[in-house]
Amino acid sequence: MAEKLLEIRNVTKRFGGFHALTDVSLHVEKNERFGLIGPNGSGKTTLINCISGALRNEGGSILFAGTEIGAMPAYRRTRLGIARSFQIPKPFTSMTLLENLCIPLEYTAHAKSHGADVASEAMEILDQIGLADRADKLPADLTQIDMRKLELARAMAAKPQLLISDEAMAGLSANEVDGILEILFKLNEGGITIIMIEHIMRAVMSFSERIVVLDAGEKIAEGTPDEVVNNKEVERAYLGE
Amino acid sequence: MFSFELFINALVAGLLLGGFYAAFSLGLSLSFGLLDVVNIAHPAFIIFGSYLTFYVNENFGVDPILAGLLFAVPFYFLGVAVYRIYYNVFEKTGAESLRGLVFFFGIFFLIEVLLIITFGVDYRLVRAPYIGKTFHIGSLGVAWRLFVPFLVGTALTIGLYQFLSKTFFGKAVMGVAQDSLAVRLMGADPIRIKTIAFGIGIATATLAGSLLIIIGPVEPAIGREYIGRVFAITVLGGLGSMSGVFLAALIIGVAESFTASFIGPSWALAVSFGILLICLAVRPAGLFGR
């Protein structure tokens, strides 16, 4: 059996009286391509916020590479190897693309030795993702697809073991979706475990080796893409009664 | 030192003061709580209103409350103009948080300086038949100059509350507060709604200004004292809740009145700021949060 990189046990999160997550358990194996799906408001984003540290889970535990991270501030989780992209891109608006990438490089990959030459490394990553010619541009000058690429590139610059891609393809054309998929496949081949949250079924189904479905804050199904598609509960959650 | 009579007097004075504080804070609660426009210049608009009231009262003998109502109209358009600038320069470009705040801070300061240049730094007051008189209930003396603002403040609260919860436009304002998209789907233009609502918020400032100068003499820099007080009330009341503002205003009024009576007047102001700091640190959503 493969090694578990991320393990979530009975995680619960409430906002006031609203139960955003109830007793959710799942795990992600090392170097796995993992899909997380569910209707709007099912708790996907809450769950990854709990993993990345933007929110604190109330019950249960979150283990990353065997370490309990539930109480850690977000930046330390990033330094342990968890990086994420945001559903609505959140670039550093006053910085060029190159400088955007220098932040995670300086603060995560080279956190011990501030001052390493991170610019050339940032350039390499921009090159990989196809933004090298826009290195000196500001995020405001980017198109929608380039903004998504920047979001991924910045997460890559944190040199993560686990990359959480939060709806990186929403609103993109079919061609552009393929472009992002290609990047994610390549990252996975390079040894990065990936959690994909996505509404575009074609993308999640072709990308994921295993999928977990959330509905109303609870896990309702888990399995290979085929198993999930044929699951009655999933059908009901998506289509209603 | 402590007597029952003093206690009752302080309590009543605090409640009356609270009714006035509500009038002072409603406009801000509307713009800050419902429209997300942090108009920290609101107290300055109120002092501006006080001086206009003073001007027509001094020169033409107009009743202060009437003056406040009359000036509400031009103030509405002033508010519309200010919001237009704010929207075009800050909100549209997403720069409202930092620069928008500084913008209103600058407006606050400018109004104060213009008032000093025009009227000087002396205290000004108004004349009206009810100012200076007191009526008695048993041994309890109630000053009309406190009672009238309390009545007007209460009426203004009820009026705004009814307006927001009962009229179509009021519901649209609440809609903007919760979700602009829903309003747009209804076919209403959220920016237009926000403009009008902001105008109404500023329009309440003249009436509040009249009440302020009825309660006591006013000088240009008095607005500073009120910044903390009105934010304390707005935050404590739960942003955007008119009934919450009224309750919070009563609480602050009573707390200040007790502090002034039993500890010393110079500590009264510290109470509202203290409450504000604690409230911000512990429960930013307010006591009566939505």
Binding site: Y75, P91, E99 | V102
Partner: protein, 320 residues
């Protein structure tokens, strides 16, 4: 190359301090020392404000509180045992730095406008405490005797001018150091997007605490010599709203993202104020500051530094 840059800047800084010293030995008119002292004090305050406001994105309306706490710490020490000025500077900086640290913890819960309102509230509460603290003069204020003589300077005002000039140089230097270090880049990330910054590994709380502490300490240090400068100190002057408005307007006029912005803003606006106070009136000078603040924030959000860059960019674009 990096250390060479440092050396050059240190050399420039020392040269400015030396010039300030030479001026005190050649210029007679006391008014100029007074006026320059005020301008230099604003260089420190504007630079300090900008470390938190411009670099990190947290708007502090309570400059007066930090400044006055520095002043009143000094007043309390002077009443107790008249220590030398450097002790006052250190103590004033320490007290206001601690206050800054406390405000820093508020950023855990308060962002944007809530933080700003809290700083404003803090200023009023502290002013209340000082008004009620009789030992340092209470609301009526207290007179402070300045030391009669000081070595190397012909009078104490010249010495204070020299001290403030050195503090201004030091403040600008600290801002420059921060701006060009990993700390400054992390602050910029927080200003641009706090959530994204933390997810990219930036320890946001530590950096914010650093920013509030350094900024507060610098304001406190600027306030420490204040009572010697004005000779009579009262809460309403030490906590004056002008400090909050100026320390915010000056970086806005100059430009908030670089160390140069507050420096240019403070020198220009500060000097203009000194001239306006003499030639027009104190009220007109405030009107100018207010108009400049609103004007720049509406029409030139990047300040003079930004305007200059834009012009240069256009000129270069034309020649290319």
């Amino acid at each position: 190359m990096k250390s060479k840059g440092h050396l050059l800047h240190i050399a420039v800084a020392l040269a400015v301090v030396l010039v300030a010293f030479l001026i005190t030995n050649s210029m007679e008119n006391r008014y100029y020392y007074k006026a320059s002292y005020v301008v230099l004090q604003y260089v420190v305050l504007a630079t300090a404000w900008n470390i938190l406001g411009g670099y990190t994105g947290y708007v502090n309306f309570g400059t007066a509180a930090f400044f006055a706490m520095g002043s009143y710490t000094a007043v309390a020490l002077i009443k107790l045992w008249k220590p030398p000025l450097y002790v006052l500077l250190v103590a004033g900086g320490a007290v206001s730095g601690l206050l800054g640290l406390g405000i820093g913890y508020l950023t855990l819960r308060l962002r944007g406008v809530f933080f700003s309102i809290a700083t404003l509230a803090l200023a009023v509460v502290l002013q209340m405490f000082m008004t009620n603290w009789e030992f340092v003069g209470g609301g009526a204020g207290t007179a402070i005797l300045k030391p009669r003589s000081v070595p190397f300077f012909s009078n104490y005002d010249e010495f204070l001018f020299f001290v403030m000039a050195s503090l201004a140089v030091a403040a600008v230097f600290v801002a420059w150091l921060i701006e060009n270090s990993w700390v400054g880049r992390g602050m910029a990330a927080i200003r641009d997007n706090e959530e994204a910054a933390e997810c990219m590994g930036v320890p946001i709380l530590k950096l914010k605490l650093f920013a509030t502490t350094v900024s507060g300490a610098m304001m406190g240090i600027a306030g420490a010599p204040f009572s010697y400068f004005v000779v009579f100190i009262e809460p309403s002057s030490a906590f004056h709203l002008d400090y909050a408005v100026n320390s915010l307007a000056m970086p806005m006029v100059g430009g908030t993202t670089t160390w140069l912005g507050p420096l240019i803003g403070a020198v220009l606006v500060g000097t203009a104020q000194q001239i306006a106070t003499v030639t027009l009136s104190a009220e007109m000078n405030l009107l100018i500051v207010g108009s400049l603040l609103v004007g720049f924030v509406v029409f030139a959000p990047e300040g003079l530094v930004g305007l200059f860059r834009k012009l240069r960019g256009r000129a270069m674009g034309r020649s290319a």
